[in-house]
Symmetry: C2
Amino acid sequence: MNSHFQPVDLNKAYRLLNHGPTVLVSAGHAGVENVMAAAWACALDFAPPKVTVVLDKSTRTRQLVEGSGWFVLQLPTAAQARLTHQVGTRSQLDDPAKLARIGVQLTRIEGYPAPLVNECSAWLMCRVIDEPHNQNTYDLFIAEVVAAWADDRVFKDGHWRYEHADASLRSLHYVAGGHFYTIGEPLVIDERD
Amino acid sequence: MNSHFQPVDLNKAYRLLNHGPTVLVSAGHAGVENVMAAAWACALDFAPPKVTVVLDKSTRTRQLVEGSGWFVLQLPTAAQARLTHQVGTRSQLDDPAKLARIGVQLTRIEGYPAPLVNECSAWLMCRVIDEPHNQNTYDLFIAEVVAAWADDRVFKDGHWRYEHADASLRSLHYVAGGHFYTIGEPLVIDERD
């Protein structure tokens, strides 16, 4: 990771997901690591921070999440749109070399089984809270965020600053069929109103 | 509602939330209607479409959702940023005239107890699927979407077209403290890659 990779206070971690970006979900178990894309990830609580994410039963990444009890949610950037689409449409079950073929690079943080995907703008290290009924009925996973980091060119002092950074660092917002939007312009409401 | 208000096929309804917008949650019960803002709403399934939303126990709107079993998720526009911030920071429990004071206008659709907020860009009529453990432990509500509509200037034929419409119709993406982003520019990946 480069010098912009900085820790984020856990009490601000929910802000990394508030604006509704598409995320990459990464996990590792028994020597296997994988990454998938997910539009259906959301914050669930402020403190301690929690998240939800929907992981289809057919995905390899879900198997690794269930095996290890951990995953990382990370925000891919506009520069990673093609990578995001490819990790979201190709399965490691079909192609064991999926990550290498797509050019996904991983960084491992000591003490955690789930790897981080390089060059994203933010990362949330998540420990699954077992809720079998949700997982079986809805493919819905709940997790506590135990650590978070961000690229300080775009997230600093608890706030996003996309408008002050290169546009290639903007978050992605998937719609369907290869169509994404990137995040746009800031709009500030005076809290005294 | 104006002439742009058109039904959305239920099998495309998930696309209304895929890009992660901030929503308004409306509900009605026993003669009382209310609206709150929520950043933590997300799609849960494609077909039949389902959603999740986090509704804090302290909110009036949650009481109406629990009483009636219904709510609407709707997407406020950039033009409604101030309205969104105000419905999100003021409580009807403190001010019974909240909606009138903020200038929220509602439309009622026959047969449904939850009203729609006028001038949003999309609406999802949601029927709660009772999951008391989630609701009590995490404030997390799961619902099935039974009907959906959108303003056809920005959502048509199953796709968002923000780039072809007035910027005032763009979706809002809340961060914190009165700071929103609006959705930005399209980025299309060729699915053959």
